[in-house]
């Protein structure tokens, strides 16, 4: 039992003190058992207060500390570090959340909030009374990082990690690297093409002997945790030994009888079962898509390097950290959404990019020349009825940039932008300006009044009530309607299910804290980057990839990690091995041992994750979680009930 507990109650500027009478809270607890110091502070987390806390602990020989402030997710670690600096074991610190769960949640009821804050602080004091000094568990950390996804973000992160000195496993699900950017021609800002950027990054990746690239590969199993993840990677064969020379390859492609929609071109073209997405794609080894291959064997006859004997392989790799760079899916409009799938000259933005790629001096689609192009913005973003409430960030700029390219590449093009308020933020504003000056016409409506696309005879008409012209009804005859589709989280959830990466309201991967820990997730050791976290342009993806690489590298660099010592412990007196805990444990952390002539359970603390699943199953209540003992929990419960 602690006798010298210090309690600090934070105003948090006004975030807490506007709704909670912090002085009253202080007075209510200052005479509690064991409390020797109770203070209020404007900002508990400010440097000056931290200094004061250190002095208090040292001078007054405090043996336990409580800070009542914001959520522990924000500052638990901050204050543990403070306590540690003062020479006190950091587990003698308890954090009380009186902001998110009190002042903000009950801003409508100041007295109620104050009352609740008092009980919560009392509970924290109760808990700290029984807190024990603990030493963190040290584990070895494998100096290797798995980067999932070899798009621009993944490749960039891999290069960075390799340069810093880590082993890197770059795992790509597709047969080819480059992700979404390889599907693009000239990129915004630099006019470099997507392919050129991919080539540059790929060359850089291949230069590093510490990077191992797997294509056609998927992580199918995961065990272990931060410092020591064990991943099972399944590698689908490409059925090519070597690259056949290009003449042979072309023949092999020609003879292949299978034709499937080419996803690389967003199904506007077809490809064979034996394929590469574009000439000189990386890795420069074509692949056979076994899902669609009929095994007719025609290709083998013309290309000697085809090898159908290759089998799916499983590989086990060990890494200290996992960096997710799984990217996004473009939104796929529903049939009938802005006439998509109903009127034949309505295409999505990614399809349009591919159409432009394939048209040289004349823009044509379905054999007809295109002069008037209508772009419908915010398709799949900022939805009124749909689930995607978010803005996809990149589309306004990307589309305007493309419209400019089209205008310059072909003659007599007229662009009409049906938007909901152009969001070319930052320097991208200059594209908006340029496109306007080139004669592009912008028409705006609000969310509830979208443009209408209809067929009149053989003409496609786009109608809008234009906000900029006092809601006048205007129409355009369009040769092509481009639906400017936004970004969506990947439909394939396998990796996030496997790693349990939490998702935000927008269903993209969620970081711990947008500003404090923007690339880390609540799953220790798993970092996120690029568009897997939310819509981003290339530069922003690169920034987050580099930041994520830094964080992943920090975890593996020193070769050792400190883990929370909050693991299960067995009461040796009461335990009479029944095996139920072993059954309940998802990590096989229990083993049966014999001690003093009695069988009992033993916890392997390096394996135990401290989830506590074993606790309720023990028939004799011989199990407790360090930091969450019966005594701690029950005394907290007692403290939460006002004694009358």
């Amino acid at each position: 039992m602690k006798q010298k507990i210090g309690v600090y109650i934070c105003h948090c500027g006004g975030n807490i003190s506007d709704y909670v009478d912090v002085e009253k809270v202080r007075q209510s607890i200052e005479h509690d058992e064991g409390v020797s110091l109770a203070k209020t502070t404007m900002f508990a987390c400010a440097d000056s207060n931290q200094k004061e806390m250190v002095e208090d602990i040292e001078n007054r020989k405090l043996d336990g500390v409580v800070v009542a402030s914001c959520s522990p997710k924000l500052h638990l670690l901050t204050f543990r570090a403070v306590v540690e600096r003062a020479g006190l074991n950091k587990y003698n610190y308890v954090h009380a959340n009186i902001r998110e769960q009190v002042s903000w949640a009950h801003s409508d009821n100041k007295e109620g909030a104050t009352e609740k804050a008092i009980q919560i602080v009392k509970a924290a004091i109760a808990k700290v009374r029984y807190a024990e000094a603990l030493e963190p568990i040290k584990v070895k950390s494998t100096k290797a990082v798995a980067v999932i996804g070899a798009g621009v973000a993944g490749m960039r992160a891999a290069i960075e990690l390799a340069e810093a000195g880590s082993e890197v496993f770059l795992i790509e699900r597709e047969f080819f690297v480059g992700g979404r950017v390889s599907q693009w021609d000239d990129l915004c800002i630099t006019e470099e093409t997507g392919k050129e950027l991919i080539t540059r990054l790929y060359d850089e990746v291949m230069k590093h002997k510490h990077v191992t690239l797997f294509t056609g590969a998927e992580v199918i199993e995961n065990s272990g945790s931060v410092g020591n993840f064990n991943l099972k990677v399944q590698i689908t064969p490409r059925h090519f030994k070597l690259h056949c020379n290009s003449g042979e390859l072309q023949k092999a492609i020609d003879v292949c009888p299978v034709e499937v929609p080419d996803e690389f071109n967003f199904n506007i073209t077809k490809r064979k079962a034996i394929f590469h997405n574009y000439p000189s794609e990386y890795p420069q080894l074509p692949a056979i898509d076994l899902k669609n291959c009929t095994r007719c064997g025609e290709c083998e006859k013309v290309c000697s390097n085809i090898d159908f004997s290759q089998k799916t392989e499983n590989l086990n790799i060990k890494v200290g950290s996992i960096l997710l760079a799984t990217g996004f899916d473009p939104y796929e409009p529903k049939k009938g959404e802005f006439a998509y799938g109903e009127i034949d000259n309505v295409v999505t933005f990614p399809q349009f990019k591919r159409i432009v790629h394939y048209c040289d001096d004349k823009l044509t689609y379905n054999g007809k020349e295109i002069k008037h192009i209508a772009y419908i913005y915010c398709v799949g973003s900022r939805q009124v009825d749909g689930e995607n409430k978010y803005c996809s960030r990149y589309c306004c700029t990307a589309n305007i940039h493309t419209a400019i390219t089209v205008k310059k590449k072909y003659k007599n093009i007229h662009n009409y932008h049906f938007n909901r308020g152009i969001r070319t933020y930052g320097k991208a504003e200059i594209w908006y300006d340029e496109s306007s000056r080139l004669g592009d016409i912008y028409l705006q409506s609000f969310e509830h009044d979208p443009p209408i696309i209809e067929k009149q005879g053989d003409r496609t008409i786009v109608k809008i009530k234009d906000v900029l012209t006092t809601d006048k009804e205007l129409e355009v005859v369009a040769d092509l309607v481009v639906l400017v589709t936004g970004m969506e989280p990947r439909k394939d959830n396998s990796i996030s299910n496997l790693l349990k990466v939490p998702k935000g309201r927008d269903k993209f991967f969620n970081e711990i804290h947008m500003k404090l820990r923007p690339v880390e997730t609540v799953i220790d050791g798993v970092t996120i980057s690029g568009a897997s976290q939310g819509p981003k342009n290339i530069m922003e993806s690169m920034n987050s990839a580099l930041a994520a690489a830094t964080k992943s590298f920090e975890l593996v660099d020193s070769g050792e990690l400190e883990l929370e010592p909050t693991v299960a412990k067995v009461n040796e007196k009461t335990c009479e091995w029944c095996g139920k805990c072993e059954e309940a444990c998802p990590y096989s952390a229990f083993e049966k041992i014999e001690k003093d002539g009695k069988f009992m359970a033993k916890v392997n603390s390096a394996v135990c994750k401290g989830c506590g699943m074993c606790l309720p199953v023990c028939p004799v209540n011989a199990l407790e979680l360090i930091g969450l003992t019966d005594q701690e929990v029950e005394s907290m419960i007692d403290a939460l009930i006002p004694t009358i």
């Binding site: 900002f43 340069e163 800002i189 803005c391 819509p535 830094t550």
Partner: protein, 434 residues
């Protein structure tokens, strides 16, 4: 100057101690690099530490900045020079730079100062407080603001009457007027430029009447009025201390405006204005808030939802840029604008107007590099020489850019950019050892 300039050696020089520079310095220090952080102000934390809350989560800015700042201050691998500037940086070769750092006297021994504020009490002078953006006064001996780091006094020598009152009351005797400007020669291997941004000065748009009409303030001033270390302890209009109940926001003040020489969008004004509007609705429940906008740029994670939330709370959004502002006798302001939706010119009366000022480059750092050119983009931000593949790279190898020095961006983007700069610096430094 002096024959024997003090010479120090570090791995990395970080110019600018705001949130981006701090993030870079911290990441590098964690990997074991010795970092010198140079900040021209007497306190680190940049502009973020002065903000009220941050969008879209409404976390208080101080709660995020202060622990980060104290982590930086405590890290043994980081040396901080406040009140200092890089005067000249010369590239001597691969991973060899030399910098001359100019350290202005603070007239206070920072180590000894306890931040007791007795000097502040004793000082007879009162001048406009730049940290409160001129809303209130401060002394000539002062602590920049409550949560400043280091929380130590500074003497504003320009406004000091050298009466010595501060010296006489200082318990640890840490005030020292014999301090002089010092120059140091620093040898480093790499440089991170994180010099941040400046705010647009609305005096450049005379038809808005800022400066003449006292109830027109900038968004940064409103930020201070809303911050926990606020000057008035409540929201007042500076013209006469009235509690406002009808506040207007004028977006794109100094952004997206070629007539003032800044054609680009500042990327943050829409969101901070929406944030302030939400905070004001909390602080002044009866107040009407109107935001005059061109396009709402709510593009980031959770931003559009935040915008929708403001609309639900009752913030009024009017599409149309304010053309001019005039003052009525009672200090209220009349905004003339075209209501674009109605297609009609209108006038609206508000008792306070906030100009949502844009982001401008903080200029000067490019002149510091003397033998190689640190190139700027057309808008005078630092040019990112390989913006798509290596956003932190500049025209000088070994010099990296972090945060708003390369263009307008919000806080999460600045922090990511700080992370990217430290990553690229790391690989630049490690390439040598491989």
């Amino acid at each position: 100057m002096q024959e024997q300039m003090k010479t120090w050696e570090y791995d990395v020089l970080v110019v600018g101690g705001g949130i981006a520079g701090g993030e870079s310095a911290l990441n590098l220090a964690k990997l074991g690099y010795k970092v010198l952080l140079v900040e021209k102000e007497p306190s680190i934390g940049g502009k973020m530490i002065l903000l009220s809350k941050v969008f879209p989560t409404l976390d208080c800015a101080a709660c995020i900045t202060t622990p980060k700042v104290s982590e930086i201050a405590r890290n043994s691998n980081i040396t901080i020079f406040t009140g200092a500037e890089a005067k000249k940086i010369t590239k001597k070769g691969e991973r060899q730079f030399e910098a001359i750092i100019l350290k202005k006297p603070r007239y206070v021994d920072v180590e000894a100062c306890t931040g007791c504020q007795l000097c502040e009490e004793a000082c007879p002078v009162s001048v406009s407080d730049e940290y409160q953006y001129g809303l209130v006064g401060r002394k000539a001996a002062y602590i920049p603001f409550n949560i400043a780091s280091p929380r130590a006094a500074v003497i504003d020598i320009e406004n000091c009457i050298l009466c010595g009152a501060c010296e006489r009351v200082c318990p640890p005797n840490c005030i020292d007027f014999t301090q002089i400007e010092e120059e140091f020669l620093v040898k480093i291997k790499s440089v991170v430029v994180a010099t941040g941004f400046d705010l647009f000065d609305p005096l450049k748009i005379p038809r808005y009447g800022y400066g003449t009409y006292k109830n027109i303030i900038t968004s940064m001033q409103m930020e201070r009025e809303l911050a926990p270390t606020r000057p008035f302890n409540t929201i007042l209009r500076p013209g006469d201390g009235k509690m406002p109940d009808n506040i207007a926001y004028v977006l794109c003040t100094g952004s997206r405006d070629k007539s003032v020489g800044n054609p680009i969008c500042s990327q943050i004004c829409c969101m901070y204005s929406i944030k302030q509007a939400q905070l004001l609705m909390g602080a002044l429940p009866m107040a009407d808030i109107t935001i005059y906008y061109l396009h709402i740029r709510a593009f980031g994670k959770g931003f559009n939802e935040f915008y929708a939330q403001a609309q639900d709370m009752g913030v009024e959004f009017i599409k149309g840029k304010a053309g001019k502002i005039t003052e009525k006798e009672n200090g209220n302001l009349v905004l003339r604008y075209e209501d674009i939706e109605a297609g009609v010119v209108k006038e609206a009366e508000h008792d306070m107007v906030v100009l949502s000022v844009g982001v401008l480059p903080h200029q000067g750092i490019s002149d510091v590099f003397d033998n190689q050119k640190l190139e700027l983009d057309p808008f005078h931000f630092i040019n990112q020489s390989d913006i798509l593949a290596s956003p932190a790279k500049t025209s000088i190898e070994g010099v990296f850019v972090a945060g708003t020095a390369s263009g307008p961006m919000d806080i999460p983007d600045s922090i990511l950019s700080g992370g990217a700069a430290s990553a690229e610096t790391t690989s630049y430094l490690r390439r040598a050892t491989l």
